[in-house]
C-alpha cells in the first residue's frame, strides 16, 4: 500500500512538472527553428529588428565566447539587426544541419563551413534549383563599406584569398584560417642533445633517434593526428596534386591521385616512424585531443598540429613546466619545398535574402574580421591574422616579440609558392574521400600493410566516391 501511495504522489508530481513545462516546451523548441527563418523572411521595414542566424561550429568558451561577444557588440552598434549565434559541436554537424535546413526552407543567413566543404557548398542547390549560397564578392558589388563597416576583402592575406577564390570570385568570407605546424618540447629535445629543431623528415628521424636513446626517454618521440589534412599538407609541400584539373581549380576535379610518389613517400615515412617506435598513434582517427594530451603530458617530444591552438599549447606547456617552440611542418628534404596550405573555415552567405538582411550579414562579416577583431581572434587562438592590417596591428603592438610561436603559421603560408598544389584541392565528396585516406593510413599503421597496395585500394574507393558525386552534382 505504501508503495502505491508513493507511486501515486510521484505521478502527481510528474503531472505538475509536465503541466508546468508544457508551455515552455513549445517556446523553447520552436525558437531555434524559427529564428533562422527570419533571416530570409525579414521584410526589412524600417525600425523593425532583422534577425540573422549565424551557425558556428565551435562550442568551447574561447571560440564560441569570442563569437558571441562580437555578435553582441554588433547588435549593440546596429540596433536594427540581431545576429543570433547558434553553436554546433563540429564542422560536420553544421554542414549536415545546414543541408537539411535548406531542404526544409529555414537556413540561417551566415554559415560557418570548413575548407573541405567548399566544393559541396558551391554545388549546393535548393529545391527550387537556385544555388544556396551567394558569392560575397558579388553581394558586396564593389562597395568599400557596408553600413559604415569597411570592407576587408582586398586586405585578406594571399594564402586564404587564393584558396577561396573560385572562378575568379572570392566566394566566402575567411574567418578561422590555420596551417599545420610543429610544436617541440625544447627542454626534452635539449636533454637529448638536439639543439636545433629538425626541419626535414630525415632530421626529425635523427632527432628522434637521440630522444629515444636518452635515459628516461618518453614513450615515443613524435605524434600528430591521423587526419587527411596533414597528408594534404605534405602533398602541398612536395608540389604534388591531390586531384586533376589543377586540384579542381581550373575545372571540376574528376580524378584523385592517392598513389602519387609524394603520397607514397609520405605515408611510407609515417609508417617507418611508427615501426621504429618514434611515432605513436593514439588509435583514434582525427584525434586532436589525444595527441595534444600526449604532448602536454610529455609523452612525446614533438607534435605536428594545427596552428589554431598555438596559444593554448604554448601556455599549457609553460604551465606544465616546459618550453614549447613552434616551427614549420617538417618536409621531405629530398624534394623541393613548394608550400603548405591553409585549413580552417569561412563564412558563407545565404542566397536569396532581402537587401536589408543581406547587407546586415555582410556588414557583420566585415565587422567580425576587422583588424582589431582579427588580431584578438589570433591572440586567443593561434589562427593566422586574416588581414594584412591585422598583421600590422599585431606587429605594432609587439605581440610577435612577446609570443614568437604565433608568427610561425603566417610565415609558413607566406613562404608557399602560389601553385595549385600548395593551394589544396577543391573536391566533391571531400569529406568522404578524407575518410577513405584516414582509414587507409590507420589500416597501414595498425595492421602493418603494404603502403603502395593499400593506397591503391584507397585510390580506387576515392575515385568511385568522386565519380558518384559528379554523377549526382556534376551535371
Amino acid at each position: 500500500m505504501r508503495s502505491r501511495l508513493r507511486l501515486f504522489s510521484l505521478f502527481a508530481a510528474l503531472g505538475l512538472v509536465v503541466a508546468a513545462c508544457g508551455g515552455g516546451a513549445t517556446e523553447g523548441t520552436e525558437a531555434p527553428a524559427d529564428a533562422p527563418a527570419d533571416a530570409g523572411a525579414a521584410d526589412g521595414a524600417d525600425g523593425e529588428v532583422t534577425t540573422i542566424g549565424f551557425w558556428v561550429a565551435f562550442s568551447d568558451e574561447a571560440r564560441l565566447g569570442f563569437t558571441k561577444e562580437r555578435a553582441a557588440e554588433f547588435n549593440a552598434k546596429y540596433p536594427e539587426y540581431n545576429i543570433e549565434v547558434t553553436s554546433f559541436a563540429s564542422y560536420n554537424d553544421v554542414f549536415d544541419a545546414a543541408v537539411l535546413a535548406v531542404d526544409s526552407g529555414e537556413p540561417p543567413g551566415i554559415i560557418h563551413f570548413f575548407e573541405a566543404a567548399t566544393r559541396q557548398a558551391l554545388d549546393a542547390v535548393g529545391a527550387d534549383g537556385q544555388p544556396i549560397f551567394k558569392s560575397v564578392t558579388e553581394a558586396i558589388g564593389g562597395r568599400t563599406e557596408i553600413l559604415g563597416e569597411p570592407v576587408i576583402l582586398d586586405d585578406v592575406v594571399d594564402a586564404a584569398k587564393n584558396y577561396y577564390t573560385v572562378n575568379g570570385s572570392f566566394y566566402s568570407m575567411p574567418w578561422n584560417t590555420s596551417s599545420a605546424i610543429m610544436f617541440s618540447n625544447t627542454d626534452m629535445l635539449e636533454a637529448a642533445g638536439v639543439m636545433e629543431i629538425p626541419e626535414t623528415w630525415a632530421e626529425v628521424e635523427a632527432a628522434c633517434e637521440k630522444v629515444m636513446a636518452m635515459p628516461g626517454a618518453p614513450a615515443a618521440c613524435i605524434t600528430w593526428p591521423n587526419h587527411s589534412w596533414f597528408v594534404e599538407q605534405s602533398l602541398g609541400q612536395q608540389g604534388e596534386l591531390l586531384a586533376n584539373n589543377d586540384n579542381g581549380r581550373s575545372g571540376r576535379a574528376t580524378e584523385v591521385y592517392l598513389t602519387s610518389e609524394g603520397m607514397i613517400d609520405y605515408v611510407s615515412w609515417w609508417k617507418d616512424m611508427a615501426d621504429k617506435g618514434y611515432y605513436t598513434y593514439t588509435g583514434v582517427q582525427r584525434d586532436w585531443d589525444g595527441t595534444a594530451n600526449a604532448f602536454l603530458a610529455q609523452e612525446v617530444a614533438m607534435l605536428i598540429y594545427s596552428s589554431s591552438d598555438t596559444t593554448f599549447l604554448t601556455n599549457s606547456g609553460k604551465e606544465a613546466g616546459f618550453d614549447v617552440k613552434a616551427s614549420f611542418m617538417p618536409y621531405n628534404g629530398e624534394r623541393e619545398y613548394v608550400g603548405n596550405l591553409i585549413g580552417g573555415a569561412t563564412l558563407w552567405l545565404l542566397n536569396g535574402m532581402d537587401k536589408k538582411a543581406e547587407d546586415g550579414a555582410l556588414a557583420f562579416m566585415n565587422f567580425f574580421s576587422n583588424p582589431e577583431n582579427a588580431a584578438e581572434w589570433h591572440r586567443i587562438t593561434g589562427y593566422i591574422p586574416i588581414t594584412k592590417s591585422a598583421e600590422a596591428l599585431l606587429e605594432q603592438e609587439g605581440w610577435y616579440d612577446e609570443s614568437p610561436n604565433s608568427r610561425v603559421a603566417s610565415e609558413q603560408l607566406a613562404a608557399a609558392k602560389n601553385t595549385p598544389a600548395s593551394l589544396g584541392a577543391l573536391l566533391g565528396n571531400f569529406v568522404a574521400i578524407r575518410d577513405i585516406i584516414t582509414i587507409a593510413i590507420e589500416d597501414i599503421l595498425v595492421n602493418d600493410l603494404d603502403v603502395a597496395e593499400r593506397m591503391a585500394q584507397a585510390n580506387e574507393e576515392a575515385n568511385k566516391s568522386l565519380a558518384e558525386y559528379e554523377a549526382l552534382f556534376g551535371g
Binding site: 508503495s3 502505491r4 523548441t29 544541419a97 535546413a101 591552438d309
Partner: protein, 282 residues
Amino acid sequence: MAGLQVGVQKKGIVRGRQWPFHLALSASVLVIAFPLLYATLIATQTNAEIFSFKFTPGSALASNFDDVWVKREFSRAMWNSLQQSLWVTVGKTVLSLLAGLAFVYFKFRAKWLVFFFVLVTLMMPTEVMILAMFRLVSGFGWQDTMASITLPFIASATGAFLFRQHFANMPVELLEASQIDGATPFTFLTRVLIPLSWNIIGALFVIQFVYTWNMFLWPSLIIRDDSAQVVQVAMQTLLNFGGALTFGPLMLAAIIASIPPALVFVLMQKPFMSGFVTAQDK
C-alpha cells in the same frame, strides 16, 4: 534505503557459513561500483592532478561544476532530457492504455489484423531504419525540435501488449459491474482499470524513463543545435575545454547525467519489480 528492493524468499538456497558470501558479495559490489567511484574522484581533479595520479580528492570540483553546469549550460541539456523523457513516458503510457482497452474490451472487424500490425512492430527497432527516419523527420522540418525526439517514440507495441495482457487477466465481473453502473469506456478506464494497473504503469514508467533518458543515437542525428541537445549527446562537447581533453568536467557530467534515471529507478523499484512479476506470471 535498507530493507526494500528486490524481495527474496526467506529460505535461501544454500545454508552454511555466511562470511564467504559477504566477502564475495562485497567484492562484486566493489567491482561493479569501481568505475563510478573512480569517476567521482576524477570529477574533483584538474588535468594536472589526474596526470600525476593522486588518489585523494582534488581541488577542482567547484570549477569543474562551473564549467559543466554554467559555462556549457549542461543544465539546459538536463532540462531538455527531462522534458523529452516525461513526454515520451506519459505519451506512451496513455497510448498503450488506450490500445489495451480497445484490444480487450471491444469487438471489432479485422481486430486480428490490427493486432498483427502492432505485433510486427516488435521486430522493427528504430535503429535499423534510422537513416530513412532521419530523412523523413528532417523532411518534416523537425530537426532541433522537441517533437522530433518525442513523437516517434510514443507508440509502443510492448506497452500495448503489457496492458492488454494485464486487462485480460482481470475478472470479467469488473466490466459487468461497471456497465450496470452505466460506465462509459473512458470512465471505466479512469475509475477501474487505471487504479488497478499502477504496478504495470510504474514498471512501464521506469523502463521508458530510463530508455528515453539514455537515448543517444537518434538525438545525435536529429538534434544539431547545442541549445536543443539532450544530456547523453551534450556530454560529447564536454570532452574538450580550451584545447585538450579534460577529464574532470566530463566525469562530473557523466555522474550528474546518471542521477535522474537512478533516482527514478530506486524510488520506483517496488512497483517496478511487482509489475515485472505480473508480466512474467503469464
